[in-house]
């Protein structure tokens, strides 16, 4: 009995030492800090701003769709001198101006949060992947120390980002980043790069849109007096719809690798 108690104590001691060792090795393993809490918060904020803009625009865009439908059903295309059609065109123009005004009001907030996220990620990428890593170390990070097993992992990214609502996109980013603790560094590096490039693109797009809004508003104010629907107007509305609410047809499907053999246990002494 005494012996079994001693054995238990010994086993417990060994287990405790092993556990401590494992914990300290986890604690000592270098991790890359690409998503500080500020980035997570910025992403959440951007998602909220995008949702507010969508909510504000949804009703206006719905109204625009109805008005355009009515215009086409009334065979107003080409009937510029018809007073009824002119009235319809003016209504469409007024709704279009309303859409531009909402966007003008909301875009600065959106731009601010997108730029904040981009700047935080930029700093992280530059320091953690750009300045602290050699090219070889970057490869090792991306491969996650699994080169020997060579297991093809499911990509954690949101590549091919079109086809979903803007707020949903940010919501997905937020969820991915907020639960990134469970993922390896390799996923984080790819995820951070993907989001950063997307933010950079979005920021540029917002900047251009803001410049265009001023011009389009002036043009439409002039058109109001004539009651004309320009092709540009229809194009802009279509573009805003696809950015904000997504376009299912453009959703890209990424093919997975074919199943390969798993008989590659050999590791050469020359392998690096």
């Amino acid at each position: 009995m005494k012996m079994s108690v001693n054995r238990f104590t010994l086993c417990a001691g060994i287990a405790a030492v092993m556990l401590l060792g494992a914990q300290s090795s986890v604690a000592n393993s270098p991790t890359i800090r690409l998503f500080p809490t500020t980035v997570v918060e910025d992403l959440r904020q951007t998602g909220n701003v995008a949702r507010d803009m969508e909510t504000g625009l949804q009703e206006v865009i719905g109204r625009l769709d109805q008005q355009q439908e009515l215009y086409q059903e009334s065979k107003c295309d080409g009937a510029d001198n018809d007073s009824g059609c002119q009235r319809l065109a003016r209504q469409i123009g007024a709704t279009y101006l309303e859409m531009l005004t909402i966007m003008e009001e909301r875009l600065p907030d959106m731009e601010h949060t997108v730029n904040n996220t981009r700047d935080s990620l930029e700093k992280g990428l530059r320091n953690e992947l750009g300045k602290k890593m050699t090219p070889w170390k970057l490869q090792e990070t991306l491969i996650g120390g699994k080169a020997a097993q060579a297991t093809a992992q499911k990509a954690p990214t949101l590549r091919g980002r079109s086809g979903m609502r803007l707020s949903e996109r940010f919501n997905q980013y937020y969820k991915l980043v907020a639960t990134s603790g469970a993922k390896g560094d390799q996923s984080l590096a790819v995820l951070a790069s993907d989001i950063y490039l997307d933010m950079e693109e979005t920021s540029l797009l917002i900047q251009r849109t803001r410049q265009e809004i001023a011009r389009a508003t002036l043009m439409e104010q002039l058109n109001q007096s004539f009651g004309i629907i320009t092709p540009e107007m229809i194009e802009v509305v279509g573009g805003v719809k696809s950015i904000l609410f997504g376009d299912e047809e453009t959703q890209a499907l990424v093919a997975g690798p074919p199943p390969g053999s798993i008989e590659q246990a050999y590791r050469s002494p020359l392998e690096q």
Binding site: Q139, L142, Q153, L197, P259, S261, Y266
Partner: protein, 183 residues
Amino acid sequence: MNFPNNQKPLLVLAALLLMSSLLAACASTTPVCGSPQSRNLSSAIDGVQTSLMNGCHAHFDRYYDDLLSIAEGDPKPENKREFSEFLVWSSDKGLLSTRQAEDYYNRFFNVKFMSMRGDYNNCSHTCPNKKKVLFDMERELGDKERGLLKVSRDADGYYRADQLYQEVELVLEATCSACAAGR
């Protein structure tokens, strides 16, 4: 030593004959560095090893390519080991440096890319040469397709290398853009 004048042409002739026979002797020892004849990888490696030891070491690149072609005819995971052992032997015999042997092996049989190496950080080393690095990696991916997929039948390994290439492309685009913004 004085020779009579009438014997001088004979001496010149004798000297010429001696030189030509010496040259002929040298020519006869030039090794024949033909390609391996066997379609069996192990036998082909034996043949190549004999040729390399008999003065054909300048043809190492061609022999390595010949061996890869032979292995493509009978792809199997064990081929990796055959190539590794052949390269270790080449290094032991002083035909290749350890670094060269590693390059030959990893370029064809490892998931990681030898063309993406360097002692300096990515901002200062990789980003200024990003285009060249990616171009070299693309070429190396072709070699990995041969080594991993066609020679070793390691489809998972090859697709992981392909995925790594795509990830490096994306991460470098973002990182280099971030490095440039910080300047």
